[in-house]
Symmetry: C2
Subunit: 341 residues, 2 copies
Amino acid sequence: MPEQTTGPRPTLEAVAARAGVSRATASRVVNGGAGVRAPLVDKVRRAVEELGYVPNHAARSLVTRRNGAVAVIIAEPEFRVFSDPFFEQQVRGISRELTAHDAQLVLLWVEGPGDHDRIARYLGGGHVDGALAFSLHDDDRLPALIGRTRVPAVFGGRPAAGSGQGVPFVDADNRGGAREAVRHLVSLGCRTIAHIAGPRDQTSAVDRLHGYRDVLPGADPALLCQGDFTEESGARAMAGLLERRPDVDGVFVANDLMASGALRTLRERGVAVPGDVAVVGFDDMASVAPRTDPALTTVRQDIEGMGRLMVRLLMRLLDGTGGEAPASVVTPVTLVRRASA
Amino acid sequence: MPEQTTGPRPTLEAVAARAGVSRATASRVVNGGAGVRAPLVDKVRRAVEELGYVPNHAARSLVTRRNGAVAVIIAEPEFRVFSDPFFEQQVRGISRELTAHDAQLVLLWVEGPGDHDRIARYLGGGHVDGALAFSLHDDDRLPALIGRTRVPAVFGGRPAAGSGQGVPFVDADNRGGAREAVRHLVSLGCRTIAHIAGPRDQTSAVDRLHGYRDVLPGADPALLCQGDFTEESGARAMAGLLERRPDVDGVFVANDLMASGALRTLRERGVAVPGDVAVVGFDDMASVAPRTDPALTTVRQDIEGMGRLMVRLLMRLLDGTGGEAPASVVTPVTLVRRASA
C-alpha cells in the first residue's frame, strides 16, 4: 500500500479526478464495474491502487476479485463429466451460487495427466480469482499444482492424506452414511451383505468401504467387489458377486449409478429385489434413485448444497475477512428408504 | 511493430539479453512458455515486443495466443448442456482439437440473458485468446457482445441474419439434409408426411423446416408441429399429431432426441414403425439413433468433426497468416438408413 495510508484517507472524488472519470463511474467500478467500459475500469483501478483508496468491503474485493471469474475443475475426463449426473448436480449448485456472487463460472476438466501442466499455466496466468476442484484422485498432481499457483481454492471431497494441505474442503459424511446403510440391511434381516466399492484412489469410496467394514468387520472378502462409479461397472460387479456368492441377500453399493447397474443385473437374472436381495445405494441422485426398478433405497448427500457451500467458503477466502482460512466442512447424510431395501 | 523492422532482424540472443534471462529461457517462452515462471515470461514477451523479434510462426503466436486458453460458450442453460448429447459430442471434438493445439478449453454456458454482460466482461478481460460459441438464438445478444470485445471468434451454426457479421461459422447443410430426409419418406410411399420442427429462433431448425417445405410446398399446416429439441417435446408433438391427423404415415423430426420421444409415443399407442408410420430424424447421434426402438433412420451430420473444424478456423484467425478471415464452412450431411424408415 502507498504512503497515503498514514495521511488523510483518499476520497472517491480523488479517485475519480485522478482517473479522469465522473464520481458515478468511479463508484460503479469500485462496486464491481458493471456497465463500465474496460479502459475506464482499468483507469479507475489504477487510480484506486495509486491512491491506496480503501472505502469498504468493495475495495478489498477489487484486488481479490479482479477477474470476476472462478474456475471449476473436474478431475475426470469429458465423457464422465457429461454422463455422470453427480457432476451436473454439483456444478448446478456451484453455478447458482457463483451467479449470486456475480462471478463467471469457467469449467475445466482433466482428460488425462497430460492436461495438468496446461491447467496449472491457466490458473497461474491470473485469469481467475479462485478455483473449485472436485473428484480428485489419490495420485492427482492437481492439489499440489493448484497450491503452487497460489490461486485461492476449495476442494470438493477430502483430498488424499498428504496432499492439499491448508486448502479447505467440503465433504459428506461418507463413512457414517455407509455405516447407516449397512446397519439398515442388517436390521432387515440380511445375513450375507456384500459391498460394491468405488475407485480405490478416491477418499469418498474408501471412506464408504471403511463404513461397511466398521459394521461387518469379519465379512468374507469374496463379498467385496470393485467398481469405478459407472453404471456398467455396477452391473458387472453384481454379476460376479452372484457367481461367487449366490447366497448374497443384501448389497450396499457405493453410489447410485453402480446400484442402478446392479439392479439391472438382478432383474435380468430374475432375482427379486428386495425379496431375494436388498440393495442400498449412495448419493440419492434425483435423476437416478427414484427412477430405478424398484426405486432405490439410498444414502442422501446434498450434492447441490455442497457445491453451494464450496463457493461460500471460496468467497470467504477471497474476501479474507476472517484472518484465518475457513475450516473444512463435513456435511451430514441421511438414509432415504424406498422399495429396494 | 517497432523501428527494428527496417534494420537487421533482432536475434533470440538480443531478446534474452534485454529480458535479462538465458537464451534457453527466452527460447522456451518464444515456444509457448512451458515451465517458465510467469514474471520471466512477461519479461521475455516485453523484450520480444520491444525489439520486434519475429523468428517464425511461434513468435507471431506469442501475441495472439498469449493466454493459451479458448472459451467455448454454449448459449443454453446448464440442464441442456449436460443432458443433450449434441453438446457433449461437439465439445468432445473441440476439446480434442484444442488439446492438439495445447490450448486450454474453458467452458461457459448461458443460464439466461442476465449472464450476457458477465460473459462479455470475462471475454473482454483478456483471459482467453478466442471464443467458440454455439447454439445461438435469433434474439441472442451474444454475437454482438462477442463482436464488441474483439476477441477472435467462430460460431457453430449460422447466426441469425443481421448478427455476427464478419465472424466465420461452421454449419451443416441443414436444408439439403431435410430435403433428403423428406424425399426418402416420399420414396417409401408415404403420402401424409408431418414435420416436428425445432425452436423457431435457431437457424438450424428453420433451415430444416424450409427443407421439408421445399419438397412438400402444399403440406397441410396441421402436419407441422413445434418442438424445442428435447426428447419430451418430441413425445408431446407426436401425441398431438396423432390426434389431429391419425392418417399420418411419415414424420421427419428435426433432431434425434425429439425423434426418440416421438418413437416412444408411437410405441405406447401401439402404432407400428415403420409399418404404420415411418420416422426419420436428424443428427445421427451415437448415443441415440442406433439405440432407439426401432433403430432410427436419420440424417448424419459430423458433429464432432464440426467442433474440430471450428477450432481450426479459430487457429487460422489467431495465426493471422491468410490476411483475410477464413471463410465460413457448410459441411455435407448424409442419410443413414436404419429400421425406422
